[in-house]
Amino acid sequence: MFNKTIMEMKFRIIIFALFFVLMLVFLIVTRPFIDEMFSQMNIGSEQMENLPDFFKNILAETAQVSKMMEDDQYFLMSQWYSKNFGQFLPLFALIMTFTIFAREVDKGTIYFLLAKKNRPAIFWGKTLTGYFVVIGLTVIFSFIAPIAMMLSGYSVTFSPQLFVLIVQQLIGVTFFYSLFLLFSVLFNDQIKPILVGIIVIVGLPFLSMFESVKWLNPYPYILGTQVISNGTFDGIYSLALMVITAIIIWTGLEVFKRKEF
């Protein structure tokens, strides 16, 4: 089951690995220019006095960010984990996951598996293999980025703050993996799981617009907004996501055990 599932995912694994490598190379290559860009946005105090208040606030914030961007560690966390790599993680999880069950049903190959193995064995075999791939690539590119920065001569360390950020991303990507896996179990074709997955990815940030439900949007958690600004681990949110993930996976198993083919 493991090898077969890996073979099915091989092309997508290569594409995403190449994409992440290119993104990392681009980030490191453009590092000096980012510094320069922010420094050019700083203006003198005489010019500042003639500007309206709201613009002064923006520039003050920019100046603050510019100062922080001089720190390689901050640059790495904000630009790799919190932006480029971090932002692609839900999409990465979706593309790797949506076919796991839906393609077997869509193509009619599920009968081959159902005839040979009991349903829990099929579910766990495919689920764990897919998770191994998703979490494996996430871990690899979480750790490669600081190493690549170090090798490029930047002063980056594996600080506790960085580890906390990586742990939150792994919990976050596990949550998205379980959700998209459930879609793959629920639907009998490959279009619906990817379509619903994209709606979820695009729709979740809109929840932040409403104060009462903005906690439902896991992006600030996955992108480590609180970790970067305060250096603290969001324990309650982590626990909640892990519990929800476990419930979703259990639901997926129960649906798969009862589903008609």
């Binding site: 089951m1 090898n3 073979m7 193509k107 005839a115 193995k117 009991n118």
Partner: protein, 293 residues
């Protein structure tokens, strides 16, 4: 085909009681079906499209939920799944694989899978071992699926339309292989639309129509015990006798019966033509006349 008495043990490979299945769409596909498959026999499940054959097979293998009781070797299917090999109606396999890769994958997934047997069957079917399955014809896909299924060392083989898409030579090969399985002590449950091929290899048949079993019995007994009578159109059938089917066409009243008294009675009538049915005629007469009994 002569029945091999030595193989006809009392042990049941498959026992189905009160199988009933209604799909969510409201289609009542199987309506309280009972039948058994004895160990060491080829049992053919026959019927027109929509009779409920595939639904019955899906129920046996646990692919769908159903009402009723199904035991495979006296156990639930999940307890004996490793001992059951299956070729579905839809012979879709992983198209990105070559037959060589498929064998390696099956070796990892299937318990008691013999790669050498799979290679032998694929060679026999002249399958290109390094060509991706995506480029295979229907017949080649069927041959591939059969090769992989036959390489699984099982006690019960379930084939849903196993010769679909095969050329006549390969079809005969497959029928011979299926027959040999029984000689080796295996049990086969088999569905097909091609009655002539069924007659060549089956010990027993069950004929389904509209979700019910209309007839279940040994193929040898059909010729021995059943008769078809072509009677004048205005002939009045005695109501106290038993008939399997009766139909009035444009010129004749056609009656199928296995009841000895009915046979004696109809044989003595004037203008009666008696026919000893082969399986094809038996099947057609049974289905065409069932509404008029």
């Amino acid at each position: 085909m002569e029945r091999i008495k030595a193989n006809a043990t009392e042990k049941k490979a498959l026992l189905i009681q009160g199988l009933d299945k209604t799909y969510r769409s409201g289609v009542h596909a199987v309506k309280g079906v009972d039948f058994t498959v004895e160990e060491g026999e080829v049992h053919a499940l026959l019927g027109p499209n929509g009779a409920g054959k595939t639904t019955t097979i899906k129920s046996i293998l646990g692919f769908i939920n159903y009402k009723g009781d199904i035991k495979v070797f006296q156990e639930d299917i999940d307890s004996v799944r490793a001992n059951v090999a299956f070729v579905p109606e839809d012979k879709s396999f992983y198209e990105f694989m070559t037959p060589e890769v498929a064998i390696k994958v099956c070796k990892r997934i299937i318990d008691q899978f013999d790669p050498n047997t799979a290679f032998e069957f694929m060679r026999r079917f002249n399958l290109p071992m390094k060509k991706k399955i995506k480029g295979f014809s229907h017949g080649m896909k069927t041959a591939l699926y059969l090769s992989l299924c036959l390489a699984q060392k099982s006690s019960l083989y379930i084939f849903d339309e196993p010769t679909w898409g095969l050329d006549p030579i390969r079809r005969d090969d497959v029928l011979e292989i299926i027959r040999n399985l029984v000689i080796d002590g295996k049990t086969v449950l088999y569905t097909s639309h091609i009655i002539s091929e069924v007659e060549k290899i089956t010990d027993r048949i069950s004929i389904m129509f509209d979700g019910k079993i209309l007839f279940s019995g040994y193929t040898d007994d059909i010729k021995a015990n059943y008769r078809i009578y072509y009677l004048p159109l205005d002939f009045k059938l005695p109501q106290e006798l038993e008939y399997l089917s009766a139909k009035r066409d444009k010129e004749k009243l056609i009656v199928l019966t296995g009841d000895e008294t009915a046979i004696e009675t109809l044989r003595g009538e004037a203008d009666t033509q008696e026919v000893i049915p082969n399986l094809e005629i038996f099947f057609q007469t049974l289905l065409r006349g069932k509404n008029y009994v």
